[in-house]
């Protein structure tokens, strides 16, 4: 179709999409030319990730030393201690919560002091009566006392505490599992297994800790690569609203709106540019940390799915946050505020599984926390298709809802 000005006017979906892609391409060209895409999308996250990894020991994983204090001295507790402290041919065991784990035997009275003095990262105390309780449970004795394993840790070293708690959970879970089996057999009138009758859990049963924890443990370089990229992503996506405000104040928006371009096409084009930059930058950080630093992010398909979902979620939230500002400075301020608060809550600055229970729970209500949990699982090799699909679904929902609200707000505040 040709109008009075001699211009060709494509119609239909292709006609609607063409200006969107033009805006996207132009924005990408500008972001590359003024180097903001490279700085916030690649160099910044890589530098921050490397710095965090170095600060945490200069290695790509952390080794936690967990003390084992046997205050019971029963065959059962000794079996647990022996199984965990025995030298392994594969070196320290690996835990899904925070890295590699090695165990040391410690006297019960010295465990707390060793943790306080930083000789140990944390300690697990098997309490007096552990063996008796385990034996009674295994025998199906309803009156048996519950087994309680104590974990000692320094509150400021929450990652180590979390690792120790996980190990203790596995020990108690194993004992409780045996209690259930024993109870079931007793109810059915069946004889107890011989080993259980002696109150001596087999070494194989206790050694389940590393097996059940599974995975390779999260890679800190990969973790901080993702964490720092997500942080920078907030600033990248803030570009959409920020650029519209700048264009409005500089008169370019008026010129754009004097063309057949619609506000929806302009916003869509800019959002697409940000999404392309986000996914592209994320992939570059992924490849560089994998190639140059040997980081293990996990299965590529899962990582890619999470990268896309994370970028879309942060893009949506970024649109909403930046739509709150009416000036460039306000947009920048709101973006920075929300980015850092969510990064703190979501665990971007602390290691995987770190922080208090409340903080770890709160983290899952942030898009970055959700994403990092999924990236941690992927890196640790414990992610499943279902868990990644669930995390991606949550992130996409966050992105969709916040993005739509943000777009409507931007349309109202910038274009009126």
């Amino acid at each position: 179709m040709t109008d009075g000005a001699g211009t060709a006017r494509p119609t239909g979906r292709r006609g609607w999409l063409r200006p969107v892609l033009l805006v996207m391409r132009t924005d990408l060209l500008r972001r590359v030319r003024n180097r903001s895409a490279i700085i916030t999308g690649i160099i910044g996250p890589l530098a921050m990730a490397a710095a965090f990894s170095l600060l945490l020991g200069g290695t790509d994983t952390v080794t936690f030393t967990i003390g084992l204090a046997d205050a019971d001295g029963s065959p059962a507790s000794r079996a647990v201690v022996t199984a965990l402290t025995a030298p392994s041919e594969q070196g320290p065991a690996e835990d899904s919560e925070g890295g590699r784990v090695q165990f040391e035997l410690v006297a019960p009275g010295e465990a707390a002091a060793a943790v306080d003095d930083d000789d140990l990262d944390a300690a697990i105390v098997l309490p007096p009566g552990f063996g008796a309780a385990a034996a009674a449970s295994s025998a199906g004795d309803d009156g048996a006392r519950a087994v309680t394993v104590t974990v000692l840790h320094d509150p400021t070293r929450s990652v180590a505490g979390q690792v120790a708690r996980s190990v203790a959970d596995e020990i108690t879970a194993e004992v409780n599992r045996r209690a259930l089996v024993g109870a079931g057999l007793a109810a059915a009138g069946a004889p107890r297994p011989a080993a259980d009758a002696q109150g001596e859990p087999s070494a194989q049963a206790v050694v389940l800790v590393p097996d059940q924890a599974g995975g390779d443990g999260p890679d800190l370089t990969a973790y901080y690569g993702a964490a720092m990229f997500i942080l920078f992503l907030y600033f990248t996506v803030g570009f959409v609203a920020r650029s519209l405000v700048v264009d409005r104040d500089g008169g370019i928006l008026g010129r754009l709106m004097a063309t057949p371009l619609t506000p929806a096409q302009l916003i869509m084009g800019r959002t697409l540019a940000v999404a392309v930059l986000g996914v592209g930058g994320f992939v570059v950080v992924w490849l560089v940390t994998s190639g140059a630093f040997g980081a293990d992010w996990g299965p590529p398909a899962g990582v890619l799915a999470m990268v896309v979902a994370t970028v879309l979620a942060i893009a949506g939230l970024g649109l909403l946050v930046s739509s709150l500002g009416r000036t460039e400075r306000q947009v920048e301020s709101y973006t920075a505020l929300v980015a850092f608060v969510l990064a703190l809550i979501g665990g971007n600055f602390i290691g995987p599984g770190a922080g208090s229970d409340i903080l770890r729970q709160m983290a899952l209500y942030t898009p970055n926390g959700q994403a990092l949990a999924a990236f941690t699982d992927l890196g640790a090799g414990v992610a499943t298709v279902d868990s990644i699909a669930r995390a991606a679904g949550i992130l996409l929902a966050i992105g969709l809802v916040t993005g739509v609200v943000g777009l409507l707000r931007i349309h109202r505040t910038v274009f009126r």
Binding site: G4, A5, I252, M257, A258, P260
Partner: protein, 340 residues
């Protein structure tokens, strides 16, 4: 549908064939722009209050008014950037409200601000905005070459805008507005903040465009620009179009009166009141440098004027009699001087 002949839409280079075939919906007598009853409010403030005028084909229409008078808001509505709260706009008969896309394609806007991406080259800016105007690729390449010649930037096309001088940026700003051969070119104070040489270059370009047959809507608060460029002028103040006509019509409206510019210091308000009371004086208004006076015959009021100054205690530096011009008209119709 009525076929509207706009006639001679060349931009000083080569006119696109599309111009000749523009169709409108009842544009009266070849008017490129018809707007009526335009109202735009921002909260409680009425920025534009029932403004209406027409621009004929080949005509340069000036919208003259001080800063904040409502010029930019008016042209923003005409360019389709702002929706009017009331009123109607037609570009070559096409209503802006219901067929914005088609109407916008007939309008070229040169905003007051330098509406260019500074990190792109002049050429890249032209390509971007030309493609937004949906010019076919080959046509766009030809038009870019043409408009660069018009504004004298053919040899600087690959310079980044941020590296250009103020005058070059202004000219590139105009070039973007010309790309798609609009029927109506809107220029919003295109000479603000540039050196006299660049200003003159821009005014010459606009004169050439007008002479080549383009319809132009030119806003300014520089009286001399309006007098130099415009076939007809609308005076806008406080959001209202208070007078409209050719320069001669406007000057005739205030009568064959002389304007007396008095440089003075002291109690100017008292001085103005004393002078206004003199026989033969039609208005006396304090201005920054002294007093602006209109009189039927300047020679008859000069002596009493000086005497009045002595009487109220002002120190008169100079008295200058000037021919009636748009400044006089503005003073007459708005009751105040047109200040920068």
């Amino acid at each position: 549908m009525v076929q509207v002949g706009t006639g001679g839409q060349a931009t000083g280079t080569s006119a696109g064939p599309g111009h000749e075939g523009a169709t409108g919906e009842g544009s009266a007598a070849g008017h490129v722009l018809e707007c009526s009853g335009l109202v735009r409010r921002f909260g409680d403030r009425v920025a534009v209050d029932h403004v209406g005028f027409r621009i004929a084909a080949n005509e340069t229409f000036g919208l003259l008014g001080p800063n904040g008078a409502g010029k930019t808001t008016t042209i923003s509505m005409i360019a389709g950037i702002l929706a009017p709260d009331e009123g109607e706009i037609r570009i070559a008969g096409i209503p802006m409200t219901t067929r914005a896309g088609a109407a916008k394609a007939l309008v070229g806007l040169v905003p007051q601000d330098l509406a260019l991406y500074p990190d792109l080259t002049i050429l890249e800016n032209l390509r971007f905005f030309g493609r937004l105007q949906q010019l076919p690729r080959r046509r766009l390449a030809a038009r870019i070459a043409e408009v660069l010649e018009v504004v004298g930037l053919a040899d600087r096309a690959r310079d980044r805008v941020q590296e250009c001088s103020g005058g070059m940026k202004r000219r590139a700003n105009i070039a973007v507005g010309l790309l798609h051969e609009p029927k109506l070119l809107i220029l919003d104070e295109p000479t603000v903040g540039i050196d006299p040489q660049s200003r003159n270059q821009i005014l010459e370009s606009i004169e050439q465009l007008g002479a080549a047959g383009m319809s132009v809507l030119y806003t300014t608060h520089y009286m001399e620009e309006a007098e130099r460029l415009c076939d007809r002028i609308g005076i806008i103040d406080n959001g209202r179009l208070v007078a409209e006509g050719t320069r001669r019509e406007l000057i005739e409206r205030v009568g064959e009166q002389d304007r007396i510019s008095v440089t003075a210091s002291g109690p100017l308000a008292e001085f103005a009141a004393a002078v206004a009371a003199l026989p033969g004086v039609t208005s006396a208004e304090p201005v920054e440098t002294g007093l602006a006076v209109t009189a039927v015959t300047a020679a008859e009021v000069l002596a009493p004027l000086v005497a009045a100054g002595e009487r109220v205690g002002v120190s008169i530096g100079s008295v200058q009699v000037v021919e009636p011009d748009l400044e006089t008209v503005f003073l007459e119709v708005t009751g105040k001087a047109l200040r920068d």
